[in-house]
Symmetry: D2
Subunit: 313 residues, 4 copies
């Protein structure tokens, strides 16, 4: 890419947000809890964060949403920094799996008896179990402080309604957590670890903040703007390696071939992506495809990769 | 079989108890909780209960043990009587499965999304969810009253240590129960249903009492001695059909071909069997084979079937 | 049952054949090959064979059909007699499985790496591999000679059209056979063993002949009428144990609780059953339920068990 | 990376080949056929191919070996070019799977009933079925001509002994192919498609030729040196996307996090990798780790990525 033309890129972002809004028509928001189902499917936004910390944005880029599974990469980076690789990867693998995100089968059938990777629910619950602190609130507060450093300044809030709804309806995640406990993989009591997990899923960010997190990874762990190191290069690469192989549920391979970028989606409608040395990207659009990925988000990221030549391999 | 010669049968029982004790040498008691691991592997006993209610017995036939999975057939009969077939079999199937007793896989993979049968843990927890009452204690008290009627007179006690130990260590069963809750199959709160389930597993009976229960089924639901109907013929047959196809964990098919009798085992070391119109049999021996069945019990039942010509089909 | 009243039983058979014909309306014949799909769904028949060899029959009891999976019990009995238990059960288990009859999964996942039982396709193909002879024709000729002895007199023919159709369309069975070869479980070349298997499935019998086979098992291995021993008591019991736990595909447990008899069905519409010391039963009706069992056959057998008090346990 | 210093890189390659040879000590060659087991575990080589077509190499870089699963990416690129995306991806997915490379389970269990991706055996056999031609020889000749163009000049030979050995021992692959035929996914007869597959696995290349193929992908489909387009950008990216998510069997995720490059390994000991716009890499070393990847190859590629800054995301 030649010199970065802010005006042209801003205009491109506007066009892609419009394209994303059109793509959203064929899906709908997650409906397993009322607080998510109520999201406006046409509220679409996107933002880029350059290495300097500068933000370009378009559409509903300041509307906050619960980050849901996007929290899995934040928690993973946080736990890698605070507990180290050995603590994490002795309890969870690094390999993609063809199973659904909430599958429990391989805990019973796999030889290793540990979750395949930290981006499926079972693996993410193991990661929550490694967060410092005892109560769920304490564990999540540590993560929130880490996120504050990543995005610069603000400590993110939690959507209390979503948190309480998820906590009250999450029988499947409770089943997974008890199975993990049975395997000796849970670094804490089931209830407190799940509480931490439900809280982190309900963290509220907007697309510009996702873009900042994406830029953190694009800088291999340096906070955009400040240049402070928050995550080691090695840990940043591990997180990005997992995003590229497992970041978009059952659509990870498809997206990898189409956009060529590490990314992570959540059923709240957010996706973050990272383009090495170039930028972080945040996209939002609550209407999901059948795999649970934001339709608008995937469209915006794929097109942005094409238009800006971000395909990385 | 010709006229029933009490002396000869008593002598046979003595011989078979000795054989059973010898067979026990190659196994050991369940060790997942200390209270079970402490059982004396050479404590072996057996009893027959004739239709008249008369008992013949040998060895440690009055030593009490926790009935564990044997409770699954008692609870099933009780719930069939109190709630009816439709309530039960809309939530759990009647088919054997090649999976381990504590497997969770088919809850995720099967088209019907219900446990395959009431004698695996998942199915038995569904059955506990159908027991009348709200608290675990209340649910189990109803079952205990039913067992009292089946065995005549005494309300069975619960081994409090075993109950508390199981309740404290049963992460796998908690995982199963939460998954069942996720599928909408649990007729009550997870904690109270599991409490009922752990209590019923800790019910204390001896081999003579198992023999009485076996005789109840051998009489198609009439209480031996009194002749009162406790279970309908249809329900008794359903229970026996399940015992014959699924009663001995992963050894059900082997035992079916070897002894030709409906039977149910528990990891506490008890097994009950039923010979239609002839007798019920209770056997005890805490040393288990690798499938979780009492080594002494299987030996005693198989030999008794041969010697008394009990093979039923 | 009191004295056997031939007239009353004949009248009962007539009624049950009519009931079976009515039950057939809700299903249809197997349609994976044209030769089966062409069967008349209302052609229903039934026969009893007493220990004396005497036959009572009703409806289309002399219409021949391909025995399909019923051949699995004949082949098993034949191979147990000619090769012995060790040869068979070192290669195939005795346990029921909740998987479909043509499933391949457990060959990959089970610890034992052998088919769960000889009545699913994988296990039956292993059994065919143990039949003496080299070519498929030679192997099947041995089995046909064994069947001739079982039914008295006639060597059964093979439906050449069905045999050729199955042989030409059976990719799934070829997949299973190659997997078995990979596991070292196939006692012969894949093509010749499959050829034997396809031939045996196409053996033509009628309901009276199925009843004779059922009577052979009801007599624990003696040929009805002649009293000659064709199968040892031990082998007959093993076969019956497998029929009772796995004889009716995914409906085995249901049927076991409903009729209480060992039985084996085939997608050609035949079912045989055995009532110890009493009689063998053959039923025919090509309209199948969703599990692949003859609707008329199941109705006739279940009602016959009720009316004649054949429930065995 | 600054200006490319040929001398320094050559010296680096020498060091890494020595490191690779040391790493090989903990593994051994594939032993499922004698022709592979006989490979010298200490024969290690590596080569780079720059965009200009220039080769840098070290060690046994001219020793030929059978490319085995590396052929899967060549065949995929070839079939994408000759048959188009729709023909391929209507029959096989793009998603990674946690199952072993030769697993058959998901063909039975997955909702889509197609192989998860073209780099596991089931998917690769589907791809071979799409190669133009009828006989196996004809299909493979087309692929060989494509490989000749990719590597410039020489038509690769086939190791006849390996081809015949694999063809004779590959029961598991035959099982997979028949299952695919059962699902209607095989674009040809089972025997001819498998023959093509076994032939392509036995194609002989050396590390310099693998490096040329890697460079072809690094140039998004242009032949290094000549600049002729052999593969479209879109198809090259699809192939690389699959390599990055699924290229190293059960070690794909680990390698992705460690080296950050698309790569594909084979049990013959070869691995190719591609660094966008920079170079292709070929590595050889027949001693494998427990996942089937060349120990030397993984070491060389991971270290080269570190030393030359090739990590791509």
């Amino acid at each position: 890419m030649a010199a970065f033309d802010r005006g042209a890129v801003s205009a491109l972002l506007d066009r892609l947000v419009a394209e994303g809004r059109a793509a959203a028509a064929s899906g709908r928001p997650a409906d397993y809890i009322p607080a998510l189902a109520a999201a406006d499917p046409l509220a679409v936004g996107a933002a880029l964060c350059l290495g300097s910390g500068e933000i370009l944005e378009s559409g509903e880029s300041r509307r906050r949403f619960t980050i849901q599974s996007v929290s899995k990469v934040l928690a993973l980076a946080y736990v890698l920094e605070t507990r180290g690789e050995e603590a994490v990867f002795s309890r969870v693998g690094k390999e993609p799996t063809g199973d659904p995100f909430n599958s429990i089968i391989r805990l019973e059938t796999s030889d290793t008896r540990k979750p395949y990777n930290p981006l499926i629910n079972a693996g993410a619950i193991v990661v929550s179990g490694l967060e410092p602190g005892s109560s769920g609130a304490e564990r999540c507060a540590g993560l929130a402080a880490f996120v504050r450093e990543a995005i610069g300044g603000r400590t993110p809030a939690i959507d209390e309604e979503v948190y309480r709804s998820e906590s009250g309806t999450a029988s499947r995640n409770r089943a997974i957590a008890w199975f993990l406990d049975n395997l000796g993989l849970l670094g804490g009591g089931v209830d407190e670890v799940l509480d931490a997990y439900f809280r982190q899923c309900a963290i509220l960010l907007d697309a510009t903040e996702l873009a900042r997190v994406g830029a953190l990874f694009a800088l291999d762990g340096l906070v955009p703007g400040s240049g402070c190191r928050l995550v080691s290069v090695r840990h940043a690469r591990i997180v990005k390696g997992l995003m590229i192989t497992c970041g978009l549920y059952d659509g990870s391979g498809e997206f990898c071939s189409a956009a060529g970028l590490p990314a992570k989606s959540g059923v709240g409608g957010g996706i973050l992506a990272s383009a090495l040395g170039r930028m972080g990207i945040g996209a939002y659009g609550p209407a999901l495809d059948e795999r649970g990925n934001s339709l608008a988000g995937i469209r915006i990221l794929t097109r942005l990769s094409e238009e800006l030549g971000l395909f990385e391999f």
